[in-house]
Structures are given as C-alpha cells and as structure tokens.
Amino acid sequence: MPSPPHALGPATTSIFDRDRAYRLHPKVALRPERFGALAYSYETRRLSLLKDLDLVSVVRSLADHPSADAALNIVPAAKRPAVERALARLVETGFVRERH
C-alpha cells in the first residue's frame, strides 16, 4: 500500500542535536542543482530545496562523521549558523535521520 502523502504537517518531530550522528534518510534522493540540490522523499512525497552548496556537502558527508558537529566543520564560520538551522529543519522534516 502506498505511503500516505502526509499533507498535514512535518513527517516527524525529531529534534536536532549537533552532538549526535545522522545520515540522509534511506528513502530520500538528492539531485544536484546549480544553487545546491533538490531532495525528494519517496516516503512522504516531500520535496526540499537545499539552497546552499556547503549544506549539500554536509548532508552528503553526515554518514561519514561521528556527529553532525563534525560534519559541519567544513562550513565557514560566518555561514555555519544558517547551515546548522537548515540541517535542523531537515532533521525535523525527516529528510535526515539519526544514525545509531
């Protein structure tokens, strides 16, 4: 049976914690674009627009780092708060999930 399209709100209510380990949700695909990437969740049918190339690099490398904080180290300091907020939003909406 197809997954319901979850039109009514965020897919999950996960709270981002920079000290934990994360990975892209296995049912999410990333497509490179000039401005960053498009992410699509085959599970929730949600589309997300990642508007920053550093954010895309962070998301792609999450699985290789022991924590989100470590993955975020590649981001220039001035931009880091914005990228971290964006990552938190991706966790809240289920595009990125905690890795155990």
């Binding site: 049976m1 197809p2 039109a7 699509y40 627009l49 964006a86």
Partner: protein, 395 residues
C-alpha cells in the same frame, strides 16, 4: 509542495506544492537541471469527452509511443533523477500496457501520480494499484453531484468516478486525491467537495480552468466570475492543506499569495511530454507555438529540457510588457502564459482573469479571427467539439 523557506538555506516542499523565498524563486525562474513537475500524457485515447479537456483528447494517435519507447523515456527520466511524473492523457488506463509501464517506472525510482476519470478502475485494478508503492491516484470530478458534473464530463461520469473511489477505499489504497477543476458552476460546492474527500480519507485538489484544448471553446461559459474568484481566494487561504498544483498564482495580486511557488513554471520547473513524445512548455500549452522538441530527437528528453531554443528563451528574464508597469506585477508575474495565448491576449499582457480586471478589458479588444488555431485535436468527432449545449442546463 508547501515550501516553507525556513532557515534561509532550505525550503521544504510537499510534492505538488512548493513555496519559495524571493531568491529561490529567482533561481527557479532560471530553470533546473531537470523538471520538478513533469506531466507525461500517455495517450490521447479517452472514454470520456469532457468539454474542457486540455488536450482535446478522444482518439488514440497512431504515432503514440510504443511500450519500448515508453520504457526508454522512463530510463531517461531516471537518469535525470526526475523523482516522479504526473501521468495523464486522455485516459491513461486505456493503454493496454498501463500497468507494465507504471510498474517499470516505479521500479526505476520514477514515482507516478496519475490522473484518471476512474471509469476503468475495477475492484481488481484498485487492488493492484493499492499493492504498488510510489503510485498516487487522482480521480477527476467537476461537480459535487451528477447534475453539476455530468454536463461537463459526460453522462454517467459522476457515478463512475464515485464507484472508482469506492473501489479504491475497499482495496485499502489509502489517501488518493479528488481533483476538481474550478468552474462557475461548481465553485459554490467547494465545501461539499471537501466533505466528500474527507469521507473517503482523500485529499482535495482544486485547479484552475484553462482555455486550452476544448477548453478554448468552453472557457468563456465555465470560468469563475470575478466575484467567485475573490471568494475562491479567501476559501483557499483558509485551507492551506487543499492542494492547488500552484495553479492559482494569479490570485496573489489580491494581496496575499497562496502556498506554492507562485510563478509560471513553464519550461523552468514544469513541462509536458505528450503521447507521441513531443515536449511542450507546460500541460496547458499543447500547441505548436510551445513545442520545444521530442523525446525521440537525438539527445532525447534531456537535450530538449536543457538546450531547446524555446526553454532557453522562457528562462530568460521577462521582457517588458503592459504588465511590468503594474504595481502588482511582482505578485502575479503576469499570470498564466497559456491562458493568455489561447484567449488571444499578448503573452506580456494581463492574464484573462487578472484580479484587477485588466484582463476583461483586454479580452473585449481581441479580434476572434486572431485567436490561435486549434491544432493537435484528437476529439472523437465534430460532435464532441460542439457539445456545448448541455452546459445550458447549468444556468
């Protein structure tokens, strides 16, 4: 996709609705590497003959893509990471290889949302659909009762759509979509549609009537009045969960935009592949004027999407026109290109349903002889093109 542009770096979106910040909107206007929202019509054959059919469907075209060619298109879309396609027609279920191509597509990571009149959804087919992941179904209904629906979609079509909805519910399909084209005659039934969708656990999707295809002939009798448009805008603002396919962005000029990208995505984030493989700028623009190429050309769909002259032109910043001097241009961006074209208005002029009334004045000045010719007509016979008489019962 309801894109809330939260952190300034991401925007999230529900498939079907996207909203975006200004800077992201500018990026999207320059085009994407692959469409977000690709409509793929699988056949011109249809068991109905709706008076507003965008593609003037009825008869199958002998040049329609073969099963092998359909698979090749799926392969191309998968390579480009097109996440899903909106499949329509005609009635896609009239293709004998419907399930074969459907399953091939979802197996290759290209999800399918298909629009159907429901007439061919038997209990068995409903169960088969329910067994497939990544398939969404949209049942079209243009009246909350047969009296309103059938003059537009054909005798018996209301009952058949309801039967299809019953079969999907019985098969445990889950949340399908109930898809309504808003007309002068059904706009007062939006609450009823909402209840009907709720009864089935379905989502309601309402879209704009376009003067394309057979809609060219029926639009003036069917499109909502100015007062109805204003009510519709308020109704939709109060219901952000009702899907609109971003089709009412011209209403943003009332002062508040609906959830969505709020731009004309033609050739930028949207396009259409027709049943013979021709690629058009958008699903409402099945006309030579908006034909960009064919998936059968060397280079296939990717070459058309990335390099065709038409799409390159559409991605350039808008040219100056009557509308750019209007204080509301940033909100509505001049409205729908196809709606202007098929009503004989200049593409840089007002939308025929401009909420400030500029469209009505412009329409009055259009010379009927200068209207674009209808090409690509697959109506079953002259009768279905002139089938406007039954609409009089709605008055």
């Amino acid at each position: 996709m309801s894109v809330t542009d939260t952190a300034g770096v991401t925007g999230t979106a529900m498939a079907g609705r996207v909203s975006a910040s200004r800077s992201l909107q500018d990026e999207l206007l320059r085009g994407l590497d692959a469409p977000i929202c690709l409509t793929w019509e699988w056949t011109y054959a249809c068991n109905l003959a709706c008076v507003h059919c965008l593609s003037s469907s009825g008869r199958r075209d002998p040049r329609e893509l073969t099963t092998a060619q359909m698979r090749s298109v799926v392969d191309q879309l998968a390579d480009m990471q097109v996440f899903y396609v909106n499949v329509g027609g005609g009635e896609p279920m009239t293709r004998s290889d419907f399930f074969e191509v459907l399953e091939y597509s979802v197996d290759h990571g290209v999800g399918v949302k298909f629009s159907t009149n429901g007439g061919m959804i038997t209990p068995e087919k409903a169960r088969r659909l329910a067994s497939l992941d990544y398939v969404d179904v949209q049942i079209s209904l243009d009246g909350a009762d047969a009296m309103t629906n059938d003059p537009v979609r054909g005798s018996g079509s209301y009952d058949r759509a309801r039967t299809a909805m019953d079969h999907l519910a019985a098969a445990g399909f889950g949340a399908f979509k109930l898809s309504v084209v808003v007309t002068r005659h059904n706009v007062s039934q939006l609450d009823s549609f909402e209840m009907l969708a709720r009864d089935y656990g379905a989502e309601l999707r309402v879209t704009r009537l376009r003067p394309s295809g057979r809609g060219r002939d029926s639009w003036s009798q069917l499109h909502p009045t100015a007062a109805q448009q204003r009510d519709l805008h308020s109704w939709l603002l109060a219901r952000p969960n009702v899907l609109t396919g971003d089709s009412f962005f011209h209403l943003a000029a009332y002062g508040q935009a609906l959830p969505g990208l709020n731009l004309c995505g033609a050739g930028r984030v949207v396009c259409l592949i027709d049943p013979v493989g021709d690629v058009y700028a958008c699903p409402f623009a099945l006309h030579d004027h908006f034909r960009a190429g064919s998936v059968l050309d060397s280079g296939g769909f990717a070459a058309v999407w990335r390099g065709s002259e038409l799409f390159t032109e559409l991605r350039e910043p808008g040219s100056a026109g009557a509308c750019t001097s209007c204080g509301h241009y940033d909100a509505c961006q001049g409205g729908c290109m196809a709606a202007k074209f098929f009503t004989g208005l200049p593409v840089d002029g007002p939308d025929p349903e401009c909420v400030l009334g500029h469209g009505e004045a412009a329409l009055a000045a259009v010379n009927a002889a200068s209207l674009p010719t209808v090409d690509n007509d697959h109506s079953r016979n002259d009768h279905s093109r002139r089938r406007m008489l039954p609409l009089s019962v709605l008055r």
